[in-house]
């Protein structure tokens, strides 16, 4: 009886070993096919990208740098990761002191749209024309209208301007005119 049990256990162990070997033999070959499936969902994908958008007048409208940029095959939507956008207001020196810089962890650009939706660790900074001290906004959500060069958000934000700090909910800034507005829940502190 004992011999029969031992035989059965041995047969089960050998069978299990064969099954395990057969099962995992093709495992490594499956991984590239998954990556190919992911890549197939993009129309294009590029890494460490720099895009320079010219305006109809031949001047640079904005420059965009991203660690990765990809367009969805289905929706046509472009997704950028770890991006930085630069904008020089008209009449200012490209790359000069009045350049506005927007950084974010990610951004979505719908097809045929001039409005980017940014999210995650957003920082907007620039020295307004005629001023010397930089303005720095921080928030987690933002829309950026590239045609109007206007940023807007509906959530909480923090604005640092020199020794002043202003918080609120919902702000709008036009980079070209430097007009700005805060919708609600405003608080501020300035250190004399």
């Amino acid at each position: 009886m004992k011999k029969a049990m031992a035989g059965l256990l041995l047969a089960a162990a050998i069978g299990g070993g064969i099954w395990y070997a057969l099962k995992h033999r093709g495992g490594e070959a499956n991984a590239p096919s998954t990556a190919q499936d992911d890549a197939a969902s993009y129309d294009f994908e590029a890494q460490d990208v720099q895009v320079t958008q010219m305006g109809p007048d031949g001047h640079i409208r904005y420059q965009l740098q991203a660690k990765r940029i990809a367009q969805s095959l289905e929706s046509g939507q472009v997704r950028a990761e770890d991006l930085t956008i630069y904008h020089d207001p008209p009449g200012t020196q490209p790359g000069g002191p009045n350049r506005w810089t927007v950084t974010a962890r990610g951004a979505d650009l719908p097809p045929e749209a001039e409005q980017i939706t940014l999210a995650g660790d957003i920082r907007v900074s620039g020295v307004p024309r005629g001023r010397k001290i930089p303005v720095v906004f921080q928030t987690e959500q933002l829309t950026y209208d590239l045609a109007r060069q206007e940023i807007a958000n509906s959530s909480e934000f923090l604005l640092d301007w020199g020794s002043s700090t202003i918080t609120g909910k919902g702000f709008k800034v036009n980079f070209n005119t430097t007009d700005w507005a805060v919708e609600s829940e405003g608080h501020g502190t300035f250190v004399p």
Binding site: I166, T189, P192
Partner: protein
């Protein structure tokens, strides 16, 4: 290395004296002494923190909405309240300031609608006001109203004086308040009222004159029938 503040120096010297005291004690006394040290240290820390907060003259702003132009340095705020420390409160339906850059120093706030100012122990209610900030604090307050109302509780005699006039100008560097355009001024609890085209009152010394005569007694006249409407009481909810 930054120099120690007076508070941190005081805290440091207390710590040194506590250590010196501890070195002379036995184990039994130490069991009592150590918790007392911890309590003393905590209270000194709180004292130092509180002092550092009090010493800051930050101006805090609350507002409903705001807008402006960065390049022009303009800011317009609605339902604005500016507070500094415990004594200065400035409230208005709308506040406007121009030519600011990063701070509001040397800036003039133009306030309109239900203007309420608490400043240097004085309370002013008016229709409009211009408040000038310099060296980190309000240095001049000019209010206009129909009429504007003023009240001041003097520390030196604990007497409240109040007045009204279409124009009230306050210079904090001298302490003089100028009432003009037809004024009425009185002391609460005293049966006198001063009326005239102009009156000057000093919040530091409680001196007053009509701008022509330096002797205050000459312009005191008996109270007439009209009583001075009292200004609003200080808004404690915002001044805390």
């Amino acid at each position: 290395m930054a120099p120690l503040s007076p508070d941190s120096r005081r805290t440091s010297s207390h710590r040194t004296s506590l250590l010196a005291a501890a070195s002379t004690l036995g184990m039994r006394e130490l069991r009592l002494f150590l918790p007392l040290c911890a309590l003393a240290w905590l209270s000194l820390q709180q004292l130092a923190d509180a002092a550092s907060i009090r010493s800051r003259g930050d101006v805090r702003i609350e507002y409903a909405t705001s807008e402006g132009v960065f390049s022009a340095g303009t800011i317009k705020m609605t339902q604005v309240t500016l507070t500094q420390g415990e004594g200065t409160v400035i409230k208005a339906d709308e506040g406007y300031v121009s030519n600011v850059e990063g701070d509001f120093d040397n800036a003039q706030w133009q306030l309109t609608g239900k203007v309420h100012v608490e400043f240097e122990g004085a309370v002013v209610d008016a229709d409009t006001a211009v408040v000038t900030f310099a060296a980190g604090r309000p240095t001049a307050v000019r209010v206009r109203g129909t009429p504007a109302r003023f009240s001041h509780l003097a520390k030196m005699d604990n007497i409240r004086r109040q007045g009204r006039a279409p124009a009230i100008d306050f210079d904090s560097s001298t302490g003089w308040v100028r009432f003009s355009g037809g004024t009425s001024f009185s002391q609460v609890g005293k049966d006198i009222e001063i009326t005239g085209e102009e009156l000057n009152y000093n919040v530091n010394t409680t001196d007053y004159n009509d701008g022509k005569s330096p002797t205050p007694d000459r312009i005191v006249i008996p109270r007439d029938a009209a009583r001075v409407p009292p200004p609003r009481t200080p808004d404690r909810s915002t001044s805390q």
